[in-house]
Symmetry: C2
Subunit: 157 residues, 2 copies
């Protein structure tokens, strides 16, 4: 039985210790300082199954653009990837930010992450025009600094 | 002549390309994805001198704790460290978040960063009780994940 709840500060230690493994050894922990688990709890969620954390989503409301929300990080346990948990978390987030007056959600991913690109496209995200094409996908060069190209997603909710 | 203004998305490329150098070669860029320059502009600032960016502060309002603000990242050009630019940016931030209803500012630093600890203490930050002492300073073990101890600061404004 899947249960979704708001993230808590206490979830951090357990999530951060598995995050690199969940991402197949990629060093992801630096991208997820504890601040996201402390200060963005109203729009960040944990999915639990039988009391075990199987997925999480960290997002927030833009403080520059009223009506916009941003998803920073999503992680799903490798064994749970086909169960629609990610999709469920996204919809939970959409509902939460809609209730807080948002009409637009943005997020980004790496051009190498084909699974992520397919996932977001299937969820109805559009890809914003970048400055080059990678395998037919528009990409913003050096978006997150030199060498860190990103695909930029946007969805009206 | 020093001029402080709100951060813009366009500042990112220039800041991110110098940040590791400003920090004496420490790899800091991963801690500063572009999202902070996009979504937290009302409480993030750039200090310019003769049209050159000499310092910046990235902070935001807590979305979990109303009345709390958080400073995530501050960088000052190595040649400008003695000029009080950091202090000026902090006070600019205090004013900005006070106007938005905040009474408390939090931030963290590494226990190895003695300059940062001295700076925050001088500015009136208190150090929150951690679970061990490092050189007489209370430290929260593994705060940002295993091995990433942090000194946790708090200031009423």
């Amino acid at each position: 039985m899947l249960h979704i709840r708001n993230i808590q500060e206490q979830d951090y230690a357990s999530i951060i210790s598995v995050i690199n493994d969940w991402w197949g050894g990629r060093q992801m922990a630096d991208m997820l300082p504890k601040l996201f688990f402390v200060h963005f709890q109203p729009t960040s969620f944990i999915a639990e199954e039988n009391g075990e954390r199987v997925a999480f989503l960290v997002g927030f409301l833009s403080q520059t653009f009223p009506g916009e929300a941003y998803i920073h990080f999503v992680g799903v346990h490798p064994d749970k990837r086909k169960d629609g948990v990610g999709r469920l978390l996204y919809h939970h987030f959409f509902d939460a930010v809609k209730q807080r007056g948002c009409h637009t959600v943005r997020c980004i991913t790496s051009p190498v992450n084909k699974t992520s690109i397919a996932f977001h496209t299937k969820l109805g995200f559009a890809i914003e025009q970048g400055d080059k094409l990678v395998d037919g996908v528009s990409v913003a060069s050096n978006y997150d600094g030199r060498g860190n190209d990103r695909v930029v997603f946007m969805k009206a909710i």
